[in-house]
């Protein structure tokens, strides 16, 4: 994904994608690992990604902070691949390229960029359980905008009126109630290749979806999984092992006992029958929220790193003009 030709294509000036094109690109990215999602789950994943993206774009304190959010993303990617120098290099190159392309934009141009992104994200109000639980989103689907807290870098706390004489000397000062409780800015983050970004938006742990992991328990699980493709069972086994939930060395003769449900109302769960309450009684359900569970999140990070390992080096096709981004992705 961080290959030079893919990034070069991505960073060319171009019009905004439609939702359909965006979903196609993200579907291919999602399937570049061993993960396979049926259309319904892919739809849900897309909505989730869009809402997470919308949250970051909307709440970005200054338009230029979209860069800091992106650098938070890149810092996280760097952490995943730090043991693989070739890929680490690609991430660094990508970061350098982004700095080169975007650093020269003015604040006004960043705001235009943000406004265009907001147009793409308009009217999507999917409710995301991890956002609802953390009170980032209302039941109506709208994000919570605080009228308190630190002001962005370069902005003064509202409440002051100053008047000047023709020579520029201050001759009067008065205050007004700003309606919110604001405090001074906490300073600007670093826009360099590395540094303290200060901004927490875009940091890895906040935006992983909620995982519901089902613990092994009893013969019922065997029945459930019999219906699935044996290869899929093995893949799930591998995934579960990587997550460190199965004891090392245990090779169950019986079918594996894990189902990973990525979404609370997985259609497959419903198909396999039993009211949710019944299912909950049969299976022990552990809710893992990446925000709180460091261990699971870092295990996931390891997995993601291993997936990146497997991507082949992208061959530059012919470098001819008009290479479609999607065609590029066919080689991934």
């Amino acid at each position: 994904m961080f290959s030079k030709s893919f990034m070069d294509e991505l960073l060319k000036p171009q019009q905004l994608y439609s939702h359909r094109t965006m979903k196609t690109v993200l579907t291919r990215l999602a399937h570049s690992s061993i993960m396979r999602l049926n259309p319904a789950s892919m739809d849900r994943l897309y909505e989730l990604m869009i809402m997470a993206f919308k949250y970051q774009v909307l709440l970005s304190p200054r338009p230029r902070d979209l860069l800091l959010i992106s650098y938070n993303h890149l810092d996280a990617a760097r952490a995943f691949v730090r043991d693989t120098p070739a890929v680490l290099n690609q991430v660094d190159e990508t970061h350098r390229k982004i700095i080169e392309v975007y650093s020269r934009l003015s604040d006004g141009e960043f705001q235009l960029l943000r406004q265009t992104l907001l147009t793409f994200l308009q009217d999507v109000h999917t409710r995301v359980s991890v956002f609802l639980k953390n009170q980032i989103q209302n039941p109506s689907g709208r994000f919570v905008l605080m009228t308190s807290g630190p002001v962005p870098a370069g902005v003064d706390v509202p409440g002051l009126i100053r008047t000047f004489d023709p020579r520029g000397r201050e001759v009067g000062r008065s205050e007004f109630p700003p309606g919110g409780t604001y405090s001074g800015s906490v300073g600007e983050g670093s826009f360099e290749l590395s540094g303290d970004r200060v901004l927490r938006l875009g940091q890895n742990l906040q935006f992983w979806f909620c995982l519901v992991l089902v613990e092994p328990c009893g013969p019922f699980s065997v029945l459930q999984l019999d219906r699935t493709n044996p290869l899929a069972k093995e893949e799930l086994n591998l995934l579960a092992r990587l997550m460190g939930c199965m004891k090392a060395g245990s090779v169950p003769a019986a079918a594996p006992r894990f189902r990973i449900s990525l979404f609370p109302s997985d259609p497959e769960e419903e198909e396999e029958g039993g009211a949710p309450a019944e299912q909950a009684a049969i299976f022990q359900v552990i809710n893992i929220q990446a925000v709180q569970d460091e261990e699971a999140a870092s295990a996931l990070a390891r997995i993601a790193g291993q997936f990146t390992d497997e991507e082949a080096e992208l061959e530059n096709p012919s470098g001819s003009k008009g290479d479609d981004l999607l065609a590029m992705m066919d080689d991934l």
């Binding site: 200054r62 907001l118 002051l160």
Partner: protein
């Protein structure tokens, strides 16, 4: 001081664009028109003063002869000239002018758009009528197009191109006090916060340049010879137009300001920003003694909304209307 009234529902939500609300009061017919931009569509609502009748219309940004071409609209604004009212729509492709009810397009001006997308966006933004017969529209290159508008018909012509700004135009405003005594009657603002002050005529005359401090001026007004400018830093500044003297500076908002408006008969000022607040201020300007005062009167908070448009509905400031990003309604407030 103000209380909320019944909102007007829109056919779709407002886009995050500066000055994304325009209001035209038609006294003889006891109607008020509102326009709000959604991506490539202008939503128009016509409301009767008794609050009983609403009618909706949608205009798309389309080149007249190319059926399927659409582009994002940057701004839609009513231009009230002595002889006629027009609705001007500026987009990534060009500038369209309609009769004020949106029924007929009377003029279309295409921008020079390059074949392939370039690093700099091309669009028109910033719209204002000035003196008796001109409409000015800004362009992303920094140019300001001056159109000469006859009292009726579609014989609108491009009269002049003003090239003083180097950055994309954000907003344009004309002197709204109704008085002829002020030398300057137009101000143009850009992405870098730079402002130019002009006197209109067959050839527009540049009277003054007020340098920006690299902070975008997103909304500007001109009243009694005083420029009122709203910035991305949340500040409002008051300058004397022809001299550039800074009269006052207000740390008004915690986020980017999206809209300023003046009620010219009462001196009320409205400011609205991404921080969810709309604030009402009072201006006292006495040009003779060169005294300018600004006082805060009132706050309204539109919960969980980044406001993108706020306008008074009448010259006294008795009522005002507000739009927000992703909101499908026009919220109205009336003096208590």
């Amino acid at each position: 001081m103000f209380h909320k009234e019944k909102s007007i529902q829109l056919k779709n939500s407002a886009s995050a664009l500066y000055n994304n609300l325009s209001v035209l009061r038609i006294a003889p017919r006891r109607l008020t028109y509102f326009t709000v931009v959604h991506a490539n569509v202008v939503n128009m609502v016509s409301t009767s003063w008794d609050g009983l009748n609403y009618s909706h219309r949608q205009l798309q940004s389309k080149e007249p002869n190319v059926a399927t071409s659409t582009s994002l609209i940057m701004q839609a604004a009513f231009c009230a000239l002595p002889s006629r009212d027009l609705l001007v729509v500026s987009s990534q492709k060009g500038i369209q002018m309609y009769e004020s009810d949106g029924s007929i397009m009377v003029y279309w001006h295409a921008l020079d758009t390059p074949e392939a997308p370039t690093a700099h966006a091309v669009f028109a933004r910033g719209i204002s009528a000035v003196s008796d017969n001109y409409i000015c529209v800004g362009v992303s290159s920094g140019a300001v197009l001056v159109f000469d508008v006859p009292s009726k018909g579609s014989n609108i012509t491009l009269s002049e191109v003003l090239e003083e700004h180097k950055e994309a135009i954000t907003d344009i405003a004309s002197e709204c006090s109704g008085s002829q005594e002020f030398l300057a009657n137009l101000v143009t603002a850009d992405d870098g916060g730079n402002m130019c002050v002009w006197k209109s005529g067959e050839e527009f005359q540049l009277l003054n340049k007020i340098p920006g401090l690299d902070m975008t001026c997103s909304s500007v007004k001109l009243w009694k010879g005083t420029v009122l400018a709203g910035y991305g830093t949340g500040q409002i500044r008051l300058y004397e137009a022809v001299t550039g003297i800074l009269h006052a500076e207000v740390n008004a908002h915690a986020r980017w300001i999206y809209s300023l408006d003046i009620a010219p008969f009462s001196g009320l000022l409205l400011s609205a920003a991404e921080d969810s607040f709309v604030r009402v201020w009072h201006l006292s300007i006495t040009p003779e003694t060169n005294s300018v005062e600004i006082a805060h009167l009132h706050n309204e908070c539109v919960t969980d909304t980044q406001i993108c448009g706020a306008k008074f509905c009448d010259g006294d400031g008795y009522a005002f209307a507000v739009t927000g990003y992703d909101l499908s309604e026009i919220i109205r407030y009336v003096q208590s």
